[in-house]
Amino acid sequence: MTTPVISLREVSVTYPGPPPVHALVGANVAILPGEYVTVVGPSGSGKSTFLNIVGLLDEPTSGTYELNGSDTSTLTEKERTGLRGHDIGFVFQSFHLLNYRSAVENVELALLYNSTDPSRRTELALSALHQVGLDHRVNSLPNQLSGGERQRVAIARAIVGNPSVVLCDEPTGNLDSRTAKDVLDILRDLHQQGLTIIVITHDPGVAAQGRRTLRITDGHLREESA
């Protein structure tokens, strides 16, 4: 049996109050390598908490989270940080590119903290930009790029370190429908190349892309029947 990339067992997150907020309640889910999963739900439902937990940005209050079959709850803050840089790629709604760095430099940033050989960084970054179809914009600054291009740079940054999973938080939230489609096409391509992708969205159109959809309502995570 294949080891799930991500395995949550009875994961709960409670933010201390007052009043205490139960952002995630007893979540159980296993995501296998190569899956394309979308997570949907209204705002405030706990989507962001789910993302933070899976992305090792936050720790569950209770329950276990296994990444690639290893329990993450025993890790120190430093180890979790290392694992994050190594195994997880993030794509954010607002891109989070550094304005004063060119596209290729922004992508290289993802290789800065994960022990990648410095002499290979540019090569890897260029290859990632090629994967998202930005060969012609590698030296452009973010403010010279369109919104869709910026998000493609961000996707290149997320995949350049060859992570186990790419977490996308509303990746098309700041894009018009046409460029949103470009971005989704790229995600689909990456999925077809075998990448594990989790997309968090409240957009049903985006959600429809995924082969599997999880819905969060008031902290409760459940499988959406296809």
């Binding site: 180890e79 290392g82 994050r84 840089g85 993030f90 954010f92 989070h96 903290y113």
Partner: protein
């Protein structure tokens, strides 16, 4: 499980910090302005002080530095004797020559001819033969009197070139005499150059023995007191000043007033020490303000860069990495400010030196240390903002 730990190479750290600084040049320059001023003031003050001090020691009169004077403050009998002068000259290391003199009181009348009116503006001094060596006197003609003239109380005199003019002394070839209180003295020499005591050129000098026999003895203090002048080798003046009274008369130590030239070292140290201290305090305040400035702008920059910091955390940067980057940035700014400040400080020293015609003097160690001071200021100033930056939660930061 063994997680791959996040790593950040030092080169990468430097490059990231530099890139962040270069991306906001205006802010970076403004941030390091305080350090520029602080370090610049520091360098300029220290440099100008050392320049001024070396200037003073250069001007410091080499002749004065090799002269010790001792004033006779006797209570019963005059202390300076030919024997005392002899002992000083022969028994103390570092003494080149020693002699003593005193102005003869009672306004003696001097003239070159019986028919001339007395000349009032010429001084009459009793002067031991050793004094001529001690003051570096040179004769235009004739000869100095010696110990023989002194001990035999002979009526001989030497005359300074100015005094000779004022007395309208006949040509030295004529072996002239002068009349002092109507008694004749043979003028055996004409002094036309002295290294010390230039007032001697306007004086008539007679041997102390002669003076003691014919005039009142030297007064015990005031302008008419006897004074011994000791010429020393360079650097010996301090020591000679300590020993000379013992050689002159060990039982009369309290009756002599020794004046040694100021030690050049103490002189250099005392010059403007107070002022330099004040200015250094000022420089320290500038540095402090510079540090506060860096801390403040770095903190503001950190607040503005919360999303960037969050991003870096999501990319695997640990808290330590964030701390290291921010503190490196502020250190670099401090060092840059220190470098610019050092440069400006040195330029200020040069500008002052050029306008004053001085030789600029600056300890090279200071020029090297100053940028390091800037670096330290930047580092210390960056600690608090960096701690704050390292505490930023990526979850919060990325929500923006």
């Amino acid at each position: 499980m063994s997680a791959p730990l996040a790593r950040l190479r030092f080169n990468d750290l430097l490059r990231e910090a530099l890139a962040a600084l270069i991306s906001r040049p205006a802010r970076s320059i403004l941030t390091c302005l305080g350090t520029v001023l602080g370090v610049g003031t520091l360098v300029a003050i220290l440099g100008l002080t050392s320049t001024a001090q070396s200037q003073i020691s250069a001007r410091f009169d080499a002749l004065a530095a090799t002269t010790v004077t001792i004033d006779d403050r006797h209570k019963t009998h005059p202390i300076f004797t030919p024997e005392a002068a002899q002992r000083v000259t022969t028994q103390i290391n570092g003494v080149k020559a020693a002699g003593y003199y005193w102005p003869i009181s009672g306004a003696p009348q001097m003239r070159a001819r019986p028919t001339d009116p007395p000349v009032s503006r010429v001084e009459l001094l009793a002067s031991s033969p050793g004094l001529f060596n001690a003051i570096g006197a040179e004769l235009a003609s004739g000869t100095f009197y010696n110990d023989y003239h002194d001990s035999q109380q002979l009526p001989v005199a030497l005359i300074g070139s100015i005094a000779a003019q004022r007395l309208d002394l006949p040509d030295m070839a004529l072996r002239p005499s002068i009349l002092i209180n109507n008694r004749p003295y043979v003028v055996i020499g004409l002094i036309d150059q002295v290294e010390k005591l230039p007032e001697l050129l306007n004086a008539v000098l007679i041997p102390p023995g002669t003076a003691s026999a014919r005039f009142e003895p030297p007064k015990t203090d005031g302008a008419n007191a006897a004074r011994m002048l000791i010429s020393t080798r360079p650097g010996a003046a301090q020591q000679v000043a300590l020993e000379a009274p013992w050689a002159i008369s060990p039982q009369d130590l309290t009756q002599m007033a020794v004046a040694a030239p100021p030690d050049p070292r103490t002189l250099r140290e005392s010059v403007d020490a107070d002022l330099a201290g004040l200015l250094l305090t000022l420089a320290a305040i500038c540095l402090f303000i510079g540090a506060v400035g860096i801390a403040n702008t770095t903190l503001v920059a950190v607040m503005e860069r919360v999303p960037e910091i969050g991003l870096r955390r999501s990319l695997g940067a640990s808290r330590a990495h964030i701390f290291a980057q921010i503190v490196t940035e502020s250190s670099l700014l401090g060092a840059l400010g220190g470098l610019i400040g050092t440069t400006l400080g040195i330029l200020a020293i040069l500008a002052v030196s050029i306008t004053q015609g001085w030789t600029p003097v600056l300890d090279p160690a200071l020029a090297l240390a100053a940028p390091v001071i800037g670096l330290l200021v930047g580092t210390i100033a960056g600690i608090q903002p960096s701690r704050q930056a390292s505490r930023i939660q990526p979850t919060e930061a990325l929500r923006r």
